[in-house]
């Protein structure tokens, strides 16, 4: 039975990934190619995020892993166990207690702070991919800042639907220069990226790209002056904790179409309930 190195990857590989991360931090929003390794979980299931986390995690870190905002979805559980087994690092479900947060498709509702690192799992890093399938051409477009075609797409949405139809993976301009795809977070979460005190790292394992938004960097969602960027709204609060202005999951609770809307961020919701509930442990 062979023993694995701390966080599974060998030190050379971690160094290679950290070099890519440094390059990414130096050029915010730019996709840095890296030699992605086969990991014990499938491509498409977070190998990029796992490789980035494995390269930056240290023995004193406290790790939180979420998927769809929840700590207990199967993939989040699987990844958290992977790191427990290969690092022995402390894990938590509490956002404010974590130093390192690996996430799929959401940014926590609890405001982030200086010193925290958020690692995003990215399926398709290239924001221009659906407009231009060729990698050789999209690299050129980024280098030459030729983003007109993305605005054409927004124009078409407004023409056809009266509004921009992109609801998640909503494209942003980072630090006034690079067009970036912020991973499939709902556009609701885009404002959290703008000038965040935390370091945001993005890992795409299968596509072999790493990019980053350093702390306090401007991140602007694309829009038109007369059709400004808007986030989603719900007409009711969370049914469990009463929070408003948070992203709500929709649950079908009976076969007559009855539905319940509750916080997607399970940690946020449970702490709000604990704070407001005089009977502890309910």
């Amino acid at each position: 039975m062979s023993r694995y190195n701390f966080a599974y990857l060998d030190e050379q590989t971690k160094r290679m990934i950290r070099r890519a991360v440094l390059k990414a931090v130096a050029v915010p929003g730019y996709q840095v190619p890296f030699g992605s390794r086969e990991m014990p979980l499938s491509y498409g299931w977070g190998t990029g995020g796992v490789q980035v986390t494995a390269s930056v995690i240290g023995p004193t870190d406290v790790l939180k892993v979420i998927d769809q905002g929840a700590d207990d979805t199967t993939n989040a559980v699987s990844i958290r166990k992977f790191f427990e087994r290969t690092t022995g690092v402390a894990t938590t479900t509490r956002t404010e207690a974590a130093t390192l947060i690996q996430t799929r498709h959401r940014i926590p509702e609890t405001p982030l702070r200086v010193g925290q690192i958020v690692v995003f799992q990215v399926p398709i890093p290239e924001p221009l991919r659906w407009l231009e399938p060729r990698e050789a051409e999209t690299r050129k477009m980024h280098a030459l800042e030729e983003y007109g075609v993305m605005y054409v797409r927004l124009y078409e949405d407004i023409t056809r639907h009266g509004r921009v139809a992109q609801t998640y993976e909503y494209p942003v301009i980072v630090d006034g220069r690079y067009l970036m795809r912020p991973s499939p977070i709902p556009k609701f979460d885009n404002p959290k990226l703008d000038r965040s005190p935390a370091l945001m790292l993005f890992g795409a394992g299968r596509e072999k790209r790493i990019y980053a938004v350093p702390p306090w960097t401007s991140v602007k969602s694309l829009d038109f002056d007369d059709h400004p960027f808007e986030i989603e709204h719900w007409d009711r609060p969370c049914a469990l904790c009463g929070a408003t202005s948070v992203f709500l999951d929709e649950l079908i609770v009976d076969d007559k179409g009855g539905r319940l809307f509750i916080c997607s961020d399970t940690d946020f919701c449970s702490r709000r309930r604990a704070a407001s509930d005089p009977i502890p442990g309910r």
């Binding site: 050129k140 280098a143 030459l144 030729e146 983003y147 007109g148 075609v149 605005y151 054409v152 124009y155 078409e156 407004i158 023409t159 056809r160 829009d223 038109f224 002056d225 007369d226 059709h227």
Partner: protein, 262 residues
Amino acid sequence: MNATVDDRPLLSVRGLGKHYGGRMGCRDVGFDLWSGEVLGIVGESGSGKTTVLNCLSGRVAADAGQVGYTKADGSVVDMRRLDESARRRLLRTEWGVVHQHARDGLRMGVTAGANVGERLMALGARHYGRVRGRALDWLARVEIAESRIDDLPETFSGGMLQRLQIARNLVTEPRLVLMDEPTGGLDVSVQARLLDLLRGLVDDLGLSAVIVTHDLAVARLLANRLLVMRGGEVVESGLTDQVLDDPQHPYAQLLVSSVLQP
């Protein structure tokens, strides 16, 4: 409107040459184009005229020669030596390229309005209403009904596609437009209408243009001066009326005399 009150030609080409393996595309082509002028390059297919146009825009890399262009700010650049970023920027701003087949110069999958507005948005226009307004203006100018602004080019006729392509290029008011057989493949009546439009636009906007055509009637209507090409080389050049009414070179004479008279 781009009047350069300048003694320098807008475009100054010397010794332009291109080989395709063993085959010659064009050789030792040179001319000056002044602001507000339209130069026609005529010849039969295989004469090298399209090669010259492609070398000017950089769509194809020439093997020899210089392509001097005087920018709006007065500086002169050699298009062949320009880095790709600057070349692509120029092609989106100060230059326009109208392809023979409109589909090559349009995005067939987006609306007419988006096609016309793209360059504006690429240059930083961020007001949907105003971009749409400019697109409407230009559709009117090229005589496409305003109601077609949200239609896909797939639904357009050949003549409309060509006019849409022209609008897409002219929306940034370029100083120089390269056109490759702009009336090629169109019905005669459609051609006539397009030529009228082009002539009007050239006059109104003071456009400079290089137009490649095998159709001498198009050349006569649009061009101030002509280059006659054959086998990759320029065999005669001069004022349009002079070349067409009194050709000197035997090939030019042959070309002119073989045009069917009504």
